[in-house]
Symmetry: C2
Subunit: 410 residues, 2 copies
Amino acid sequence: MSTTPDLHRTAAELDAADPLRAHIERFVPAPGVTAYLDGNSLGRPLRATQTRLAEFVRDAWGTRLIRAWDEGWMERPFELGDRIARAALGAAAGQTIVADSTTVLLYKLLEAAVAARPGRREIVVEETNFPTDRFVAAAVAERHGMTLRRIPADPVDGVTTADVAAAVGDDTAVVVLSHVDYRSGVIADLAAITAVAHDAGALILWDLCHSAGAVPIGLDAAGADLAVGCTYKYLNGGPGSPAFAYVAARHQDALRPPIEGWMGAADVFAMGGAYEPGAGMRRFISGTPPILAMLAMEDMLDLLDEAGLDAVRAKSVSLTSFTIDAADALLAGYGVRVLSPRDAGRRGGHVTLGHPDSARIVERLWGEGVIPDFRHPDGIRLGLSPLSTTHAEALDGVLAIRAALEGSNR
Amino acid sequence: MSTTPDLHRTAAELDAADPLRAHIERFVPAPGVTAYLDGNSLGRPLRATQTRLAEFVRDAWGTRLIRAWDEGWMERPFELGDRIARAALGAAAGQTIVADSTTVLLYKLLEAAVAARPGRREIVVEETNFPTDRFVAAAVAERHGMTLRRIPADPVDGVTTADVAAAVGDDTAVVVLSHVDYRSGVIADLAAITAVAHDAGALILWDLCHSAGAVPIGLDAAGADLAVGCTYKYLNGGPGSPAFAYVAARHQDALRPPIEGWMGAADVFAMGGAYEPGAGMRRFISGTPPILAMLAMEDMLDLLDEAGLDAVRAKSVSLTSFTIDAADALLAGYGVRVLSPRDAGRRGGHVTLGHPDSARIVERLWGEGVIPDFRHPDGIRLGLSPLSTTHAEALDGVLAIRAALEGSNR
């Protein structure tokens, strides 16, 4: 069993050997924050983003003014979507847009998918998936008089291919699942589960919020149908930055989202009498694209391109593995359980620890500048955004939890 | 008939006497732009916005990080909505949020309104209203097997109270209209038309995109039910900034929008099994609020508060009246028609001029740094954002149009 000095030494060695360590200097420093362990909830801004935003106000918005729509803004939702697709999703161009919020995009794609599977009366979800996914699906199901089938899943190991195979059938229109679970961080088998849904004739809609930018996804290779995800976690787009939606090219012409807005029309400025859906991903846009809100994520995409997703994933595995080792060594004696998979291959970018006093512990840690997230009812979630987090920070988090459990000052 | 020198003198006098003239210096200068006449499409940024955004990245996002959600961000959609309500809508607190886009909010409110008038089979729109309004309403009507009744309206004088009275009846669920028409700028009689809709037992949903920040609205006094509007025109929120929605307090508990997202739930972080709609305006929020994208409009709201909406409206009337005078004097001889009301009391913040060569003229003007908007099929729209536009700029626009019609250089 490692001791605290051992772990400090290991953290220092791992950080020294980290090929991505130089990138940490590119993030805006946070005075008073010893360990930021919530980059999977809100990614830290890059220093470059301050300049990017100020220059945008002066130049593109302030000087090009309305002309900028013709000079590139109209294409931004598609170009930025393609950029995310290439950097993070494993998807070819022409299938991804940036728009709206995850919730709104999920709704739009789910409604369109249900309409594309007429006669099928069931939407399948995982019963403890992130609330917005379940809530949106429940409302869509209720509205169409459909059944919402909720797959139970092991809280650590998540939903398995067998679970999904047992749930889907001739009556399944759409399956909605998360790739990486927001609590345990378990990675669902995207390719195998997609195949099982397809075997039943259903469409599958993946929520990629907790994987995009941290875990390779391979949407095209898996033959996935639809996906959504947010950009303020590992893509560091800033609080409430717009989300992304992926629709496999083969489905685009057959799907018709329920919100038929001017920006989704075939000829946006014709101002015509009737709505004619745009080709490709155009029809999945509703209102005026949120150009200003799309800017910040570009800096993280620059960094992601530079580092490469494989290196990011390798660092992520190192961070989560080390964190679990530290938790085993320092916290198990206090009744803290590891609520994330121990198999690194099945674990995303965060680690959740369980303890009945989690809410109190997280509150105390925040006061000390150690910032994990509390997840109802009893989880301390340590989000280890690979490009902005050190092994030393992860250890600080574990030590701070121990101090809180001891009721002592560190 | 005024001559060009007369008009130059008048413009100079009006600008010198303008009590709001000092405010123009607060906007980011646009090198190469002689006359920006599209502030009703994309408002110019304030200089303060550059600093606000950069400081936000460093402080709130970069340093407070996830803690900022607890320290105010969760309440921003409501607080900013209340601010817009007070400054621009004539609405009491607790009825307005900032969220999504105009299109998405329109969809959410319209679906909720249709559900609140069961048995009524008709949605009423104005047949040449802005496309997103008609498109969204048409899709909602089709989805529910309802009729979309399209009121014809005079292209200059717009929809009258009598037009609406003739269209609505026992079968009307909702009426969707714009307060200020996006082409002619005519102001609809919001109070009288609202009363007519109510007399028929219908709800009314007002699109305030072209009035918010330029024309007093008086939503509460009119007894309006629902409204949406965008913030990147006269509220200068930046390209694609989030929209606002108003739901009169008396309707909030009875309406249930179709997108049931986690941020609309009564207890957002309970992560519970079933969606319980939040009280008040909470339920009209879907996904994570677009905090970064809400920032820029605060600078314009500061300025609007300082100037006062009555003074802004007075300047707006002066600008549009002067522009029409100049067009009459300089352009009528070239076959240019004024497509906006001549009664200032019925005219919003922009003036549209009609000529068959409008598309070509606008293209030429843009190349010269004179920037109006082309509106299909034959309109040159001069948007005269009161706080950032001078009478001299308006005259420059008219003179540039004349030069284009003469095929000459100015």
